[in-house]
């Protein structure tokens, strides 16, 4: 099952590679990983999307907690949470595509952030599955380039990951 794990870690050189190294050394799946400093510049916040059985997820959480740089770990799937990912897609915008792409972008509540003679660049945020759905809805031949950030997650309501 897919899990979103959030963690706070010391914002130090090498901290990211400790997490990435842990996943490869123990053969855990890693779908995406995002990391950036928080409002407290000594801390980084990371969101990891992974999958595995309950036992594997339990081990992943324990192993992450064991890393000396990791301050706190939370499995967002233990409660209600929000997940968002940003995607930039460059699509063909010539002939009939020019109108079609604008329409698709509107339907998915995306924004066209760059316009060129032959292409649009569309910005889209949402859950990973919404972004997948958008790509599936497009004519494959129209997609020139995609870039996705990987998911960021946060608990709903009073669920707060803070030290």
């Amino acid at each position: 099952m897919k899990h979103i794990i959030s963690l706070l870690m010391e914002n130090e050189a090498g901290a990211l590679s400790r997490v990435a190294g842990l996943f490869s050394a123990r053969a855990y799946n890693i779908e995406s990983l995002t990391v950036a400093p928080t409002e407290d510049p000594t801390l980084s916040r990371m969101t990891i999307v992974t999958s595995g059985s309950d036992e594997v997820i339990e081990q992943i959480i324990k192993q992450l907690n064991k890393l000396v740089d990791v301050v706190k770990v939370l499995d967002l799937n233990d409660g209600r949470y929000i997940e968002r990912e940003l995607m930039l897609v460059k699509v063909k915008a010539t002939g009939p595509f020019r109108e079609e792409m604008k329409r698709m972008c509107d339907i998915f509540r995306g924004r066209i952030i760059d316009v060129a003679d032959g292409s649009y660049t569309i910005e889209l945020t949402g859950t990973g599955s919404k972004l997948d759905a958008f790509l599936e809805a497009l004519d494959k031949t129209a997609i020139l380039e995609t870039v996705r950030t990987g998911a960021s997650g946060i608990g709903r309501g009073d669920r707060i990951l803070k030290i």
């Binding site: 090498g14 590679s17 190294g21 081990q59 324990k62 907690n65 000396v68 740089d69 030290i163």
Partner: protein, 585 residues
């Protein structure tokens, strides 16, 4: 008045001096190391100090092994010092060995000057990157202001919680810069707070299950040794009257000569230990990790149901390979102490009543029946020296009171089976990583820690050659280690597997062109002995451990049976109760 033009007055020190003063603050007695370009400043500071003894090894791998053994034997944090590049990479095997067995170590490595990092400088290697998967933690010191605090953290992390090696990589320019020395008294890390005390509700739940058990079994590992919990374990085990087994890493945690001890378990464990593991109804695992060499095939292990209580300081050890029913995270000494207190207090009446006494008597009858099969018997009438016989005699001659280090292979298993360890920290071997070559440097570390103790390195003719250069270190530091080589002219364990599972095709496992070990020992300035007949075994050991050779290193080369195998054996992928016994072949 300080002279501001002279930075060495007052509290200003070079980075190298800061390193030395940190080691002094940590009360380090031995540093095992090897100099080189990137650590020359540190070695220059060592030249003028008397706080610790520097032990010059002949290869950096041995420096780390020796520091590791020092830590295993004393419980203190071991310290090694190596230079950058090849010095650092040579140390990696030692670091990984210590990591797998959770040994507290601080390894200081030199690094090229900070501005040269990443420039492919001479003797540059990314030590922090290379060691990341085999350390508890590591640091690259980037600013002299952080040097002392980093070393303090390294010792703290290495020695607390589940111990492990910590690498501190120090660029050469930092060791030459000046800064005031101030050593922090305590360490506060928001990201590192090992859990020490077990959850009292869980402890009580476990005790209730233990008192209601009909076929209980205690299974303890290296955690008992590392956590200095042997005394509490003995008290608990005797109070409960349960059978107990130790893992390879846990030997000595409970006295092997005690009746309640059923021997080591696992791939080469005793019949009684493995059968009791398989058949028990309540299993109490303490400081052990259900390793693949211990429980065999997990599916087979679970073909019988049992309730498992697991006590460990590392939460990630719990339910890693085996799902447990009652997890208790905490320092084993503290948890066992609390259990003993409860058995003298709140649980006294329940324990005194012995609700399941009849069932436990029947369980012991069953265990004695397994024990009566004498799974460790071997041919005592052989004309060729049997390796088991050498170990039995070694135990007798040293009165069971020696420190035994070993290398890896058949001899290691025989030492574990036949040398009955009654005390913790006496059995020093590489259990997790299984590193051939550790035996001799391990013996050095132990002998330095306990100069008057009997220290024997049980090894084979293959393993000993992996760090044989350390015979020179033994000479320089007058270490009267006794090397017991079980020489069967084969990589014995490889040969055994080839015999059992590869149709007797002994591919590359024959040790050809062996040196004359007697002459080799003599060339290094030691005493060499070659023992070819069973009747000469005991006299040779008595002479080696006798008063005349007390101060000398003795290299004993026992020519043993080439075909002897280690039994019992749980073949790979089989279950604990599917052992091959000696008589079955």
């Amino acid at each position: 008045m300080e002279d501001p033009s002279n930075p060495t007055t007052g509290n200003q020190c070079t980075g190298a001096e800061i390193v030395i003063r940190c080691l002094q603050e940590e009360n380090v007695k031995f540093v095992f190391g090897y100099p080189g370009g990137a650590v020359l400043n540190i070695y220059d500071a060592i030249f003028n100090q008397t706080h610790f003894k520097h032990v010059l090894v002949r290869h950096e791998q041995a420096a780390v092994h020796a520091a590791d053994a020092y830590a295993r034997a004393t419980g203190e944090v071991g310290v090694a010092l190596v230079t950058s590049g090849p010095g650092a990479t040579n140390a990696v095997t030692g670091i990984a060995t210590a990591y797998m067995d959770s040994i507290p170590l601080v390894v200081l490595s030199g690094q090229v000057p900070a501005p040269s990092i990443g420039m492919d400088a001479f003797q540059e290697v990314d030590m922090v990157g290379i060691t990341r998967p085999c350390v508890k933690h590591n640091f690259l010191v980037k600013d002299i202001k952080d040097l002392a605090a980093t070393i303090k953290k390294a010792f703290y992390i290495a020695g607390t919680g589940r111990p492990g090696p910590v690498v501190v990589d120090i660029p050469k320019d930092i060791t030459a810069q000046f800064h005031a020395f101030s050593y922090p008294e305590t360490v506060e890390m928001r990201s590192y707070n090992p859990i020490l005390k077990g959850h009292s509700g869980q402890i009580k739940k476990a005790l209730r299950l233990m008192l209601d058990a009909k076929r209980p079994m205690l299974y303890t590992g290296g955690g008992i040794i590392l956590g200095d919990a042997s005394e509490q374990l003995v008290k608990l085990t005797r109070r409960l009257g349960f059978p107990i087994t130790n893992t390879l890493m846990g030997l000595g945690g409970y006295p092997a000569t005690d009746r309640q001890f059923v021997g080591m378990l696992g791939m080469h464990g005793t019949l009684e230990a493995n059968m009791a593991m398989q058949d028990c109804d309540v299993l109490i695992a303490i400081g052990a990790r259900f390793d693949d060499r211990v429980i065999g095939n997990p599916d087979h292990f679970f073909s019988k149901s049992r309730t498992i209580i697991h006590i460990d300081v590392d939460p990630s050890s719990i339910s890693k390979r085996v799902k447990v029913d009652v997890p208790i995270v905490g320092h084993v000494q503290s948890v066992l102490g609390e259990m003993n207190d409860l058995l003298d207090g709140e649980f006294k009446a329940a324990a005194d009543k012995k609700p399941e006494e009849a069932a436990i008597q029947a369980w012991w009858t069953q265990i004695e029946a397994w024990r009566s099969k004498k799974c460790l018997s071997y041919d005592r009438n052989s004309d060729i020296i049997k390796p088991q016989y050498v170990l039995e005699k070694l135990w007798e001659v040293t009165k069971g009171d020696a420190f035994i280090t070993s290398d890896v292979g058949q001899h290691q298993m025989w030492a574990a089976q036949y040398y009955k360890f009654d005390k913790p920290r006496r059995w020093i071997n590489s259990g997790g990583l299984g590193t051939m070559g550790v035996g001799l440097p391990y013996a050095m570390g132990v002998q330095l820690a306990y100069p008057d103790a009997q220290v024997a390195c049980v090894t084979g003719e293959a393993s000993i050659q992996m760090c044989i250069q350390e015979l020179s270190t033994c000479k320089q530091f007058h270490l009267p280690v006794k090397v017991v080589t079980l020489n069967n002219r084969y990589m014995g364990m490889v040969r055994q597997w080839q015999e059992f599972f590869y149709g007797n095709r002994y591919s590359e496992s024959y040790m050809d062109a062996l040196p004359d070990f007697v002459k080799l020992a003599e060339a290094y300035g030691h005493v060499g002995m070659r023992i070819e007949k069973p009747s000469d075994v005991e006299p040779a050991l008595k002479e080696a451990f006798g008063p005349k050779l007390k101060e000398r290193m003795v290299f004993m080369d026992f020519l043993t049976d080439q075909k002897e195998n280690v039994f019992p054996m749980v073949p790979n992928g089989k279950g604990l109760s599917e052992m091959i016994l000696a008589e079955e072949l």
